[in-house]
Amino acid sequence: MSRTEPVLFLLGANHVSAPVELRELLYIAPEPLAALLPALRERHQFRELVALSTCNRFELIGIAPPTANLNALLYQAFLDLHHQHGVVRDKISDEDIQRALYLHTESDAVRHLYRVASSLDSLVLGETQITGQFKDAMTVAATSGTIGPTLQRLGQEALATAKKIRTQTAIGKKTVSISHAALELAGKVFGKLGDHSFLLIGAGEMSRVAAKYVTNYNPRNIFIANRTVERARDLVTELGTGEAFGMEEIPGLLTSADIVISSTAAPGIVLDAMTVERAKSARRGRPLILLDIAMPRDIDPDCGDLDDVYLFDIDDLQQVSAANFEERRKAAEEAEDLVHRGVDQFKNWQKTWSVKPVLAAFRNYVGELIDREAGKTLAKEHFRDLNAKQRESLKALFDAIASKITADAARQITSPPPGFEAEQLAQSILALFPDTAEHRAEPRAEKTKDKDSQ
C-alpha cells in the first residue's frame, strides 16, 4: 500500500481474531506502555500514537508517515513494540502474531474505534468497562506525549458517540458486564447461585463489579481474598457482607467455596492446579467453578482437566454473550447508525482540519495585501490632510473588507456547496492566489491551529 499522505490507521488483535493465549502475550500494562510508546513513535516516525490494551484487545491507533509500504511499516512497528515489551520469539512467532492482526485505515479505522468505544465490538455487547479502558488509553498516550490534535479529537468524538449510544439506545438498558456473563455461565453448573459460596480473588475494579453482581444472588458466603487484606476489607465494608482474607488462605477457602471469580492484576498464575487438586479431596465430589476474568489469566489452565472442576476464561464468555446477542441486536443496529453519523462528522472535521492551514494562510495573505495597499493609498498626496480618527476609520474599513472576504471563503470551504470538496476548494485558493502558500508558516496561522486543536 503506497501512500503520499499521512495515514490514520488502526492495527490490532481482539477476541475474535486472536485466542486468549495470544492476547495474554499482547497485553501491556499502562505503565510499561507509557514508557514504550514515545520510543516507538520516534523509531517509526508516527505523528501520533495511542495504544488500547485490554484483556480482549490490543490495538495501535496512530497517524503513519507517508510511505511506500504502509503494511510492512505498521506490522514491524507492532512487532517491535511487543519485542521491546518482552514477548520472546520462542513463545510465539511473528507470523502467528501477524495472522491475528487486522488493519483499518482512514474512515474504517475511525468506524472501528467508535465501535470499540461504544462496546459494539466487545466480547460482551454493551458492557461498560471498555469506555473506561478507552479513556485510560487516551490518558496513557497523553502522559507519554504521543497524542496529537487528530487523535485527541478522534478520542473525544468516539467517547461522545459512545455516550450518545448508551443514552439514546436500549443497549444501555441491557448492559451486561463480563462479571455478569461469568455468573450466567456459573448458572449452567449451579442452578441456584444463591445456595453456594463465592470466593473472589482480587479486590480491584473488576472484583468490585463482580462482587456487586454476586450480592444480588444473596449467596451463602462471600470470601474476598487479596494480596493486601486491607483492600479486601474495604470491599467487604462497601458490600456490607462477606469476609476478607489474604492470598495465603485461598487453599483453605477452596474447600468451602463453590464458585471462584479471579480478577487480579497479577502478571502470573495465582491459583495453580496442584492447589485445586488438593482442595478437591475435601470437597467430596462437589463441583467447583473457576471463573478467570483476569488478563493475563490468574488460574492455571490445567485446572480445567480436573474432575468436578469447571474452568472458564474470558473467551468462554463469548458464548454466553452470543446467546444474549439476539436480544441486543436491535439496539446495536440503532447504535451502528449513530456510529455511522459520528464517523461522517469526524470525516468532515478532518477535512476542514486539513484545509485550516490554507485558510489561515489566505487570511494572512489577504490581511497583508490590504495593509500594504492601504498603506500605499493613504501615503498619497490627497490623503495627507486626513486626521488620525479618519485614518483609523479607513483602516477599519479595509480590515472589515479583508475579514469579510476571508470569512466568506472559509465558510464556503469548510461547508462546501454540493458537488465540491473542501480540499478541492482549498487547492483552488492556492491556485488563484499563489502567494498564499508563502504565508503558511506565519504566526497567525499557528495561533488558529492551536485554537482549533483545543
Binding site: 449451579f190 465430589g285 474432575d307 446467546a323
Partner: protein, 270 residues
C-alpha cells in the same frame, strides 16, 4: 378381556407414544415445546393406566405377573416427577422407551404367567413387600442410569466448553448430580430391603426346592454389592461424580441383565 388388561394395554400404548414424543423433544432441544408437553401427558396417562391396572389386579387377585408392570409404572412416575419437579425434561426420553420395552417383554414373552399370589396371608404380604421393594429399587437403579447419561452428556459439553450445545431442557449439572445421589441412596436402600425381605420369605414360606442360592438371588446380590461399592466410592473415598455416573451406567447394565436375562428368560423365575 378384563378391566385390568384394558388398563395395561392403554398403559402400553401411551408409553409407546410418550417414547416417540420424547425422542422428538430430544431432537428439538428446546426448553418448552408442544411435543414436550404432549410427551408428558402421554407418560402421565400411561402411569395412571398402569397404576389402575395394578390396583385392579391386586384387588381381584388376578393371576398375572406384576413385577414388570410395577417396574414400568414406578419408573414412569419417577420420570414425571423428574420432568415436573426437577426440570429434567428429557428423562422421559430414556424412561418411556425402557418402560415400553419392559411391558412388551411381559406381554409377549411371559403372557399370563402366574405369580406366587396364592400363598397364605402373611406370606402374600411379605412377598408383595419383597417384590415392591426389589422392583422400586430397580426403578431407582434405572433412573440413576438415565440421570448418569444426562450427567455425563452435560459434563462433557461443559468440559469441552460447548456451552451453546447444552440442551435448554436440562437442569444445571449440580442438580443432576443431586438427583443421582438421591437415586443411588433410595435404590440401594430399597434393593437392600428387597433382598432381606426375599431372604426372610424364602426361609419362611418358599418350597424347599427354592431354598438354594438361585441365579436370580446371585445376580441381585451382585447388583446390591455394586451399588454399595458406588456409594462407598462416592462418600468414603470421594470419587469424582463423573466416575460415579459411569459406575451407575454399569450398575444399570447389571440390573438389566438381572431383570431381563434371569427374571424373564429363566423358566418360572420372577
Amino acid at each position: 378381556m378384563t378391566a385390568a388388561h384394558i388398563a395395561s394395554n392403554i398403559a402400553l400404548i401411551s408409553l409407546a407414544l410418550a417414547a416417540l414424543l420424547y425422542l422428538i423433544e430430544v431432537g428439538k432441544n428446546r426448553s418448552r415445546n408442544s411435543s414436550g408437553s404432549a410427551a408428558l401427558v402421554a407418560l402421565l396417562l400411561a402411569a395412571l393406566a398402569g397404576t389402575t391396572s395394578l390396583v385392579l389386579q391386586l384387588a381381584t387377585t388376578e393371576a398375572t405377573a406384576l413385577s414388570g408392570l410395577l417396574l414400568a409404572v414406578a419408573i414412569s412416575w419417577m420420570a414425571i416427577v423428574g420432568h415436573t419437579k426437577f426440570k429434567l425434561r428429557l428423562i422421559g426420553a430414556f424412561v418411556a422407551p425402557l418402560a415400553t420395552l419392559i411391558l412388551l417383554v411381559q406381554f409377549f414373552i411371559t403372557p399370563g404367567r402366574p405369580s406366587a399370589m396364592d400363598d397364605d396371608g402373611a406370606g402374600k404380604i411379605l412377598l408383595l413387600f419383597h417384590v415392591s421393594m426389589a422392583v422400586l429399587g430397580q426403578a431407582f437403579g434405572i433412573l440413576a442410569g438415565a440421570v448418569s447419561i444426562f450427567y455425563l452428556w452435560q459434563q462433557k459439553l461443559l468440559k469441552k466448553k460447548r456451552l451453546s450445545q447444552i440442551p435448554q431442557n436440562l437442569p444445571a449439572i449440580d442438580r443432576i448430580d443431586g438427583m443421582l445421589r438421591v437415586c443411588l441412596w433410595a435404590g440401594y436402600g430399597l434393593i437392600t430391603a428387597g433382598l432381606v425381605s426375599g431372604a426372610v420369605y424364602t426361609q419362611l414360606f418358599a418350597p424347599p426346592a427354592e431354598l438354594m442360592l438361585s441365579a436370580k438371588v446371585l445376580w441381585a446380590t451382585v447388583v446390591w454389592l455394586w451399588y454399595l461399592t458406588i456409594l462407598l466410592a462416592q462418600n468414603v473415598f470421594g470419587w469424582p461424580s463423573r466416575r460415579v455416573a459411569e459406575m451407575c451406567l454399569v450398575g444399570f447394565v447389571l440390573m438389566a441383565l438381572s431383570y431381563f436375562g434371569i427374571g424373564f428368560f429363566r423358566p418360572g423365575g420372577q
